[in-house]
Symmetry: C2
Subunit: 462 residues, 2 copies
């Protein structure tokens, strides 16, 4: 503990007590990273248990002009939780109460530190679920999901955090507790601050409570796998599937390079397999045959090598296992990787895929694509070896061209990972100057001293 | 035309030409009211055809420090389009192009003056619809729907404007064109200004274009009518229906007083009818029997007098005809009425109904209730005769108590009509002071000279 920190530390201890303030360098270190693999140690870590404590912690940081970075479980991939300028990391992981499960009104009220999986379990006990389902559901916090508007495969049918959150409680950078939204599924009184906070990555306010909108579970589900000779044919099938009335509850894809990443998997597939779609439909049992027939008809077309429907829950799980094995496989196989989650309108996926292939060839960087094709949300993984000087030099210029390509196709830079520090330098390409200026002006109203998560989401002003 | 107005008039003519500026008192008069029956004549009416013209009109009004009130088709019921402080009414009714219908990407791009019905027709040609469906669909503009987040019966299953709009173009009170949101169903880059503008009633910016999210039409639909002995039993049935997995695509109700409003209708009903539910389910044909069985099971219970499912499209239309006859009936039967669209969590509807009955008795004001029960969105109609001194004196105090009741039940003051001028005096009861102060601060960023729709949405500062 350096002497500079002592007044800040004392003030934090004054709010929450000694046991809930970490100042030891080793303890602080682990709160300095997230899944972006970026790292910067905070000057202190503090654990809040109540909204009043959050309010008092904001007041302390404001008085000390110290950055304050709210943190869930650190599973974000864009560096939004990394305290790049030091300051105080406010961990919300101990604010994890499920306050109400209210199936009659199809809502749950939770604290931000509860995990997505805990929410799903509590909802499932009443026959409901909360639509956002990031791959990290077992670990990620709902507060983090809200902060970056993170979704997952189900969003194609059931929407993202913005469509599934009714209201919030939060503490602004002014240290004021606010209450946004409603407890009802309709509301037309005042400005929608709920959605403004969703996706704001802790730069406007610190979420202390959320009212989540629940959806009834479907009674039946069918999983199909469609295999194509190349990505262009698979992408065309995605467009066809989304242009017909049966909306799948998941429409995932893997390109050939992604398939090759999963050990031994390609051996089980037809020769010349170039891409794979996982298609899931849900609804009442009586509608399943018709739904399977509708998506199957749309899946059929040029380049289809095989189309199979799982005939049991076990078979369906096996089909999904490949998709789920992919992220860990990528993690171990690639020495370095830039992992983006760009989005384009579904009909532009073929152009995106062609453009990515051209960039891969031009820059000599292998690119592996998979993701939530039904939303046009493609996880673009640029694999490179930082020991390879040529690749190391080309990775960032290649990324820059990927983003330009996405924007030319009327897409957006991120569908569910957010901006954080990873993408802030590219935001001005996606959002025009007057709109960005308004966002900064709004930020200044919530956080006049700019203490909340500085240097995130916005381009740095040089 | 007074001499004071001449420079303003000349400036507007400079932007759009003489033919698109109305200054004659008779011409201006008709742009001074909306469906709230409030009226105040504007000083000028101007018709824009392009976003550039909107921008230049804002610049003119800003230079002249003149109020600027955007107007769609004037069907709003809360007075949001009434130019209470004079100034310029900017009619968007001629900006009515459908720019794109893009079924592959499930979106439409439209100008604000297109009617809801025109949007529905263009979408239906491709097998889609836009979820918001106000009763005034044939006349109301999409820009107006967006400005007040107005929905309709379908919202219970398909959501409101906020869940069904991907992005906007708009001109702020600074006269700057901004572009919000994305062309995709996922997006996590920057603050969500799209939803901030939705429901802001023209106080932040003037919408010049909208990207609407389309939903596939269902192939089948079934309509049921359930009749109960009283509203409490009907309200309990609503809760049961919403707590089971099959979400109806409409769940409307009429109380006994509402039923009595429709001429001769009660004669066709069982004796002692006290309330009626219209329940509609949609989906694939194969799922209809199961869906009808599920909602029927939930509808059954104490107080059910009759449950019937329409066996043809004609029968279904006949069931709906009663609901649709109600608004016109109310208009002609009641000398005066206060028509509110409060919302409570579905499980609190029985308490709301009981509380409204008590207020009706206490104040001697007949109250007729009907509306979108599946969202807890109840149209509360206080009928009175302004020639009756006792009723005239009691109407506003009764309304005030209705709002207090709604807020005690965790509800909100409006589900789809918005605040306008009608409810601005009650907003501070629903939104706490720091949250309201933030909303005002945000308003000042978009509209620093406070020219956009002054004296709306916010409580007047005395």
């Amino acid at each position: 503990m350096t002497s500079v920190l002592e007044p800040l530390q004392r003030a934090l201890v004054g709010v929450v007590g000694k046991e809930r303030v970490l100042t030891d360098p080793g303890d602080r270190h682990v709160y300095g990273y997230d899944n972006s693999r970026k790292h910067h140690s905070p000057d202190a870590v503090v654990f809040a248990l109540t909204e009043d404590e959050v309010r008092d912690i904001v007041a302390v940081c404001r008085a000390h002009k110290t950055p304050l970075i709210a943190r869930g479980r650190g599973t974000g991939t864009a560096g939004a939780a990394v305290p790049v300028r030091g300051g105080v990391v406010l961990s919300l992981e101990r604010m994890r109460r499920i306050i109400t499960v209210d199936p009659d009104n199809r809502l749950m009220r939770v604290e931000p530190g509860v995990t997505n999986q805990e929410v799903q379990r509590a909802a499932a006990a009443h026959g409901f679920f909360w639509a956002p389902d990031p791959t990290s559901a077992a670990y990620c916090s709902v507060g983090g999901n809200i902060a970056v508007n993170s979704a997952g495969p189900r969003a194609v049918k059931y929407g993202t955090v913005r469509e599934n959150t009714l209201g919030l409680r939060a503490v602004t950078g002014r240290g004021e507790a606010i209450r946004t939204g409603v407890d009802t599924t309709k509301g037309a009184v005042g400005y929608d601050l709920t959605r403004l906070l969703i996706g704001s990555e802790g730069t406007l306010a610190i979420i202390t409570q959320a009212t989540l909108k629940l959806t009834p579970q479907s009674t039946a589900r069918r999983t199909l796998r469609a295999i194509y000779d190349d990505m262009h044919h698979a992408a065309a099938a995605v467009s066809r599937i989304m242009a017909q009335p049966v909306t799948p509850c998941a429409l995932e894809f893997l390109d050939g390079a992604a398939i090759a990443m999963v050990p031994d998997f390609h051996k089980t597939l037809p020769a010349h397999t170039g891409a794979l779609l996982l298609i899931e439909v849900d609804g009442p049992e009586a509608a399943m045959d018709e739904a399977v027939a509708a998506v199957s008809a749309a899946a059929r077309g040029a380049g289809l090598l095989e189309l199979a429907a799982a005939t049991s829950a076990g078979e369906a799980q096996a089909l999904w296992a490949v998709r789920k094995a992919l992220s860990p496989a990528l993690r171990t196989l690639a020495p370095n990787k830039l992992n983006e989650d760009v989005v384009v309108p579904v009909s532009r996926i073929p152009e995106l895929v062609a453009g990515l292939a051209a960039l891969s060839r031009r820059f000599g960087i292998p690119i592996v694509n998979f993701g939530h094709a039904g939303n046009g949300n493609i996880h673009v993984n640029m694999l490179y070896d930082s020991q390879n000087a040529q690749q190391e030099r080309q990775a960032r210029p290649c990324l820059s061209e990927v983003f330009d390509l996405v924007l030319r196709l009327d897409g957006t830079l991120s569908g569910e990972h957010g901006v954080g520090m990873e993408k802030r330098d590219y935001v001005a390409r996606a959002i025009d100057a007057p709109t960005l200026a308004l966002m900064r002006a709004i930020k200044a109203q919530f956080d006049p001293d700019a203490i909340l998560n500085p240097d995130k989401l916005f381009p740095l002003i040089s």
